[in-house]
């Protein structure tokens, strides 16, 4: 998983590329910082997500909410969108539409 971090109008954007799965998430957890005023996870380069990846997104969402920090998921690809829909998170997680 490759992660590029940059600032965009005061928001921290993490542009992710690769598989969001059990093998990548442990390293990803130390890379993604939930920092104020908000972060964006740009998933344009993510075409695979498994249950560990989903739990990671739920965890980031939880941390952001607890810290009152904005979170957006951006550029969901169809395979990821379909999985989020199947697990009922598509209408719960803050997805940019």
């Amino acid at each position: 998983m490759q992660v590029e971090r940059y600032e965009d109008q005061g928001t921290t954007v993490y542009k992710m590329q690769g598989r969001l799965d059990a093998h990548q998430v442990p390293a990803l957890k130390s890379l993604i910082e939930v920092v104020p005023p908000g972060i964006v996870l740009d998933l344009a380069g993510v075409n695979f997500i498994d249950s560990t990846g989903l739990a990671f997104l739920v965890g980031v969402n939880k941390r952001a909410r607890e810290s009152k920090i904005g979170l957006k998921l951006r550029n969901l690809q169809d395979p990821v969108r379909l999985i989020l829909e199947m697990v009922g998170l598509y209408d719960i997680l803050p997805i940019e539409r």
Partner: protein
């Protein structure tokens, strides 16, 4: 949030009791849950328990839905989670089915309700699972099962642990309230324990219906003929639907060397039993849902040997697990699969590590967050 959790609960030994106990533990620890009420199954001999455990329903009783409904009316929780499979409330069709009315009745009380459904009638070989004696009876049961699946869908949300179950609920039943939720590892097990030197194969569970040991014992006989140090440990009890199964098995296969039977494994012994095993064998002839034993095997970094049947193989792939597969019912095929791992500790270890990563990637406490997110949204919808 005052959350009610309806589940089989220890020291009961019913199916799903381990999942229920662990889920109750993680839910109680969530800051969002200010109060947890557990509506559990009655015990043959009552024991002293904390006040939040209410023993209000009984396996095999036709009045369980009524008892649960009355208790919910009295407790007035903000939300309810049911931990169910189709035979949670009884071994016979009528009490089993009547109990499954409970989630719909909870919803009728206006309580946000999620049902975690561990299996579906459609994917269960009822004959093998001990619920039918002939095809006609099986057909009748299946029709009844479909009717009660529709009633279960009366829950606000129905979560299942298998993608195929969600597809069935959405396509066949046109359900819009079904979603997929991961099974989750019961707890963070710490670093993966190394494989033992002993070539010990573990079979873990409740045996006699769809978990049958005949093929595994015959395969072990072949393995032990080549390697006298090989061991087989059968850990667990008879299924409630197959009394006397293990005793009958020992009478027939008692001469095979290297086989031991542990009987019931108390929770505090589970880690030791898995850690002392070199691999975990799944002697299933059918499946009735996601395998808790596979998640436990993963939690303790153990490789798995599984039959290539239906949703078991799908679960392995979908959740990132690996297994050595064999042809169901074929002892030689199973012996071959066991041999391949027993003869190659490095491969067995790598498979175990893979299963460890797949298992600990999603902890039950993560899954609980998932449910709380759904309940929060239901609560908001309910309030508006």
């Amino acid at each position: 949030m005052h959350l009610a959790f309806i589940t089989p609960f220890p020291p009961s030994q019913g199916t799903l009791v381990e999942y229920g106990a662990h889920m109750a533990r993680v839910l109680a620890a969530k800051p969002e849950v200010s109060r947890l009420s557990i509506l559990a199954d009655q015990l043959e001999r009552p024991v002293e328990e904390p006040d939040h455990i209410h023993r209000v329903w009984r396996f095999g009783s036709a009045a369980n839905a009524l008892q649960i409904t009355q208790t919910l009316r009295r407790l007035r929780p903000d939300a309810v989670i049911f931990n169910l499979q189709f035979a949670t409330f009884g071994g016979q069709p009528l009490p089993a089915a009547l109990g499954l009315l409970s989630p719909g009745l909870a919803r009728l009380q206006g309580i946000p309700t999620i049902t975690l459904l561990h299996n579906l009638f459609e994917t269960v070989d009822l004959n093998q699972a001990g619920y039918a004696g002939n095809p006609l009876k099986e057909r009748v049961l299946r029709l009844g099962g479909e009717a009660f699946t529709r009633l279960l869908l009366g829950s606000h949300l129905v979560a299942t642990t298998m993608p195929t179950y969600v597809e069935i609920l959405r396509q066949k039943y046109r359900a819009k309230n079904a979603f997929l939720a991961p099974h989750g590892a019961f707890e963070d097990p710490g670093p993966p324990p190394p494989l033992p030197a002993a070539k010990r194969v573990l079979a873990f569970g409740k045996f006699g219906t769809y978990k049958r040991l005949e093929t595994l014992l015959e395969a072990h006989q072949m393995v032990v003929a080549r390697d006298p140090a090989a061991e087989l440990v059968v850990a667990g009890t008879n299924s409630p639907n197959a009394p006397g199964y293990l005793e009958g098995l020992r009478a027939v296969y008692g001469e095979i060397p290297g086989v031991s039977y542990t009987g019931y494994v108390p929770e505090e012994e589970v880690a030791r039993v898995f850690t002392e095993a070199y691999l975990v064998a799944f002697p299933y002839t059918a499946t009735t849902g996601s395998s808790g034993v596979l998640h436990q095997a993963g939690q303790f970094a153990r490789p798995a040997v599984m039959p290539r049947i239906g949703d078991l193989a799908e679960l392995v792939e979908a959740e990132g697990y690996q297994a050595e597969f064999f042809h169901p019912g074929d002892a030689a095929s199973l012996a071959g699969a066991l041999d391949r791992l027993l003869a190659d500790p490095e491969r067995a270890w790598q498979m175990g590590l893979n299963n460890y990563r797949a298992s600990v990637g999603v902890l039950l406490e993560d899954v609980a967050d998932w449910y709380l997110l759904h309940l929060e949204r239901l609560g908001r919808k309910h309030a508006s």
